[in-house]
Symmetry: C2
Subunit: 242 residues, 2 copies
């Protein structure tokens, strides 16, 4: 690692450089999810910085939930397909009590030319192609939402022909080396459109929650656009503000 010295501009802390170096390895899938990282001391020696500096970078990566640290055992690449982690990006909860695991039924999955909206949300060029998926999700056995998902075909070759698991994001990570870091959602209340009424088993015109989500990867590239239409009669969308 290089010290920046007293440059007039562009000062960059050492631990930040370490953070970026490790983030790059995570983005390049040098270390796979679930895998253990070298210990603090080993990383410090390799990068030529003190253990405390490595620790600060590791703590920051842990705060961004990219790593998991376990005292006495080691530092691991975070896995986001655990039962509790399904709910990191799934914010619908039954009104009454705790939620069971959501299930999915895929309606269609095809590759096609990107629409204008898709190109806009995913920052794609003209003539770009996407893999477009439609599915219905259920909570506690009752259908709760229908969603259309679009991803750039170049980033996910062959996805349309695959068996799609319940948690898409772990598939993105394990099969395509793409980690979803954050997602930006825009929520609106709309009247349930006729074409989706049948899939959800509710009359058209019912007030429903429309969730427009763009998910970005570790390098802040938009990699998925998802438009969900959610029933909220016995369910709500939970949000915590800090």
């Amino acid at each position: 690692m290089e010290r920046t010295g007293s440059n007039a501009v562009g000062f960059r802390p050492l631990y930040r450089q370490v953070y970026d170096t490790l983030l790059r390895r995570l983005a390049d899938a040098v270390w796979q999810p679930g895998q253990i990282l070298p210990s603090e001391g080993v990383l410090a020696a390799e990068l030529g910085v003190s253990q405390g500096t490595v620790r600060k970078a590791l703590d920051a990566l842990t705060a961004d939930s990219l790593l998991v640290r376990r005292q006495g055992r080691g530092t691991f690449v975070a896995e986001h397909d655990d039962k509790q982690s399904v709910f990191r990006f799934f914010k619908l909860r039954p009104d009454g009590a705790v939620a069971g695991t959501p299930t999915s039924r895929v309606v269609s999955a095809t590759e096609a030319a990107a629409t204008l909206d898709e190109r806009d949300r995913l920052a794609l060029l003209r003539n770009a192609r996407v893999v477009r998926m439609e599915r219905v999700r259920a909570l506690d056995g009752r259908p709760c939402l229908v969603e259309t998902i679009a991803v750039p075909a170049t980033l996910f070759p062959g996805l349309a022909a695959m068996e799609l698991p319940n948690t898409l994001y772990s598939l993105y990570a394990t099969r395509f080396g793409i980690t979803i870091a954050t997602a930006h959602e825009r929520l609106k209340a709309i009247a349930l459109p006729a074409d989706k009424a049948e899939l959800l088993g509710r009359p058209a015109g019912t007030p429903v929650l429309e969730v427009d989500r763009v998910a970005v990867d570790l390098e802040d590239r938009p990699v998925e656009w998802r438009l969900s239409t959610c029933l909220t009669e016995d369910i709500h969308y939970a949000s915590v503000l800090r």
Copy 2:
């Protein structure tokens, strides 16, 4: 500060004890919002711990957005009435561009016996009283939501008779020493009720977003229940998932 030694159970890091000590002073309004805290060195000497330990506690309080640290100047109690901080708990944004500041028009403010719902949300006893406020908020001059706000009357004596500012939470902090730490929101899509249709200037039955918020203070006590009914035709609720 006391070292815990090697107790079999109940180990509590020193910096956590420092965190709690400082949090208590903030909760007791020993230091007012905007006020500067003693420097790291002074606090370390006072509490009998190292500067690094104090720093870790201060960093944690900063991460919880209770403090603001400015290099070269000092550490300050966070103020949440700045222009950008209005939006910490206000998640509605115009679809097109950047948001102007929201404005408020108070419809009513009275003290009354708490309803069952209010007692439930605010963890109040029977016969408890609340201050209940109703107001309409506008964004860029157009009405966007109507909301009913209830707070325990014992915590906010005289609130019903006050001039209510646009940002209630800064009033809570400065006049009543109550700091809102987090808020839990439950979102649903519903049909606009007739009694609120007039206030918002839209026909009854229009799909609207209902936001049910319970805000808690530094000690995790529920101190405000707010039920907002929001138009989302040209506006959306923005949420970031990490």
